[in-house]
């Protein structure tokens, strides 16, 4: 699970403050907010890439506010994906496991699992150059899920995709959720995305987060 307790994050000239929310293990939560309201900064603070001004971040029952990003056990898919230009798809899927010095046979097995789950089998030996938006998105998801993280953080994962690919990704995200059961916080500004995927909906407005009912979102 993830819990934010009275969290404050400075974002340029404004500040997110008093942010509290709790997402139970296995839940798929969507955080909605307008462009530029600080959603990305909040995700960065949760995964440890941005300093927290006040409050606490909890993950799996442990306070991780001051932990290094490497120790938080959170899979993060940023909006720009930030794939590694010099690595193949296979190396992306193996990256986090190699860092953890996992045995080669286990890494191969995990790559096969992820390739099957995400439909990446034919792309494993390609670099990211020339992959379509949907394929890149699946590589970024696979990379973030490869080390069985406790939490998955998705920053506008479908914003750059065309309508058809977006619908394919809805199905993929739903399937991932049922197959992996990973606790997910998905940030978006699309109402339809929230309605389609969310168990719970949070709205970020004027620097504060409130929970909204899914019916209101419609």
């Amino acid at each position: 699970m993830i819990a934010l307790k009275n969290l404050g994050v400075r974002v340029g000239t404004f500040q997110l403050s008093g942010i509290s929310l709790e997402i139970a293990a296995g839940e798929y939560a969507v955080l909605m907010g307008r462009t530029g309201c600080g959603k990305t900064s909040l995700l960065e603070a949760i995964c440890g890439l941005r300093a927290v001004a006040e409050g606490q971040v909890w993950c799996q029952g442990r306070e991780v506010t001051t932990w290094d990003p490497a120790d938080r056990d959170m899979g993060y898919v940023p909006q720009d994906l930030a794939l590694f230009p010099t690595l193949t798809v296979r190396e992306h899927l193996a990256f986090a496991l190699r860092i953890r010095r996992v045995a080669a046979a286990t890494i191969r097995q995990r790559i096969d699992e992820l390739a099957q789950l995400l439909g990446l089998g034919a792309l494993l030996d390609r670099t990211i150059h020339g992959l379509s938006g949907g394929e890149r998105q699946r590589v970024a998801l696979g990379r973030a899920l490869s080390f069985h993280p406790a939490v998955l953080l998705l920053d506008e994962p479908l914003s750059a995709l065309d309508e058809q690919t977006r619908h394919e990704m809805y199905a993929l995200l739903k399937m991932l959720r049922s197959r992996t059961g990973v606790t997910t916080l998905h940030v978006t500004h699309h109402r339809h995305e929230a309605q389609t995927l969310a168990d719970r909906l949070f709205v970020l407005e004027n620097g504060h987060v409130r929970e909204a009912s899914l019916a209101v979102a419609s």
Binding site: C47, G48, L49, D68, P69, A70, R72, M74, G75, Y76, P78, D80, A82, L83, F84, P85, T86, L87, F95, A96, I99, R100, R143, A144, S146, F147
Partner: protein, 283 residues
Amino acid sequence: MNAPPAPLSGRRAHRRRWSDAVFLTLLAVLGGSYVALIVLMLAADACYTTPQHLREALAKSEIQFAIRLTVVCCSISAILSLWVATPLGYLLSRHHFRGRWLIDTLVDIPIVLPPLVLGLSLLILFHIRIGSWRLEQWLRDIAGFPVTFHVPAVILAQFSVACAFAVRTMRVTFDEIDPRAEAVARTLGCSQGQAFLLVALPQAWRGMMTAGIVAWARSLGEFGPILVFAGATRNRTEVLSTTVFLELSVGDLQAAVAVSLLMVLLAVLVLVVLRLLGMESRR
């Protein structure tokens, strides 16, 4: 809805074409004068000497020694520059720390400092007395590694300038690499060092090649600091740039020009490799 603008009259169009022609001619004449100067200098060098003179110069044992020493010293200096410039360029590009502007400015000093002053500064650094202790004396007597007026002084003089250019190149290289990938690598379990080694460095290899070549080329052309700090002793600290000076000082203009042409060829080779690397990275 606004009416479309009226077409320009024939006279105005003619005046504009004339103005464009004058402007382009001005650009060509002003820019071309400098290009012409370079071509004329190289042509003059080439006309002044003959293949025979070149062969004679290259057959001299001291010039052969200078070529060998130049290649060795420039290569060591380029490798050292790269070794220092890569971490320093990364530090300046990625980390915002107190005093960064000062380090950024200090790194540029060897670029703007007169070369002789740099050589003199090195000489003073190695010979300044701190109590009864002197760096050069300690290196020579205790460590058994004399520097001043020996080959290490040639390398250090070259390195002190070449490294500044390599740092600039590496800083720009890392500035152009998106730091987001390194941030994501840290969420995947990397330490900052692993993110640098596994994500940033593989993307920086073209920049490293460029920095290495620029450092090598700068080392090749270095003269002032070498003359002051390493001297120009034949068969000992003589590199190609000092050969030109030594041949001129004994009045052998033919040999000086022949060695100069050799350096021009090396410089052209470096520029071609740099251009090829630049074209490759734009693909």
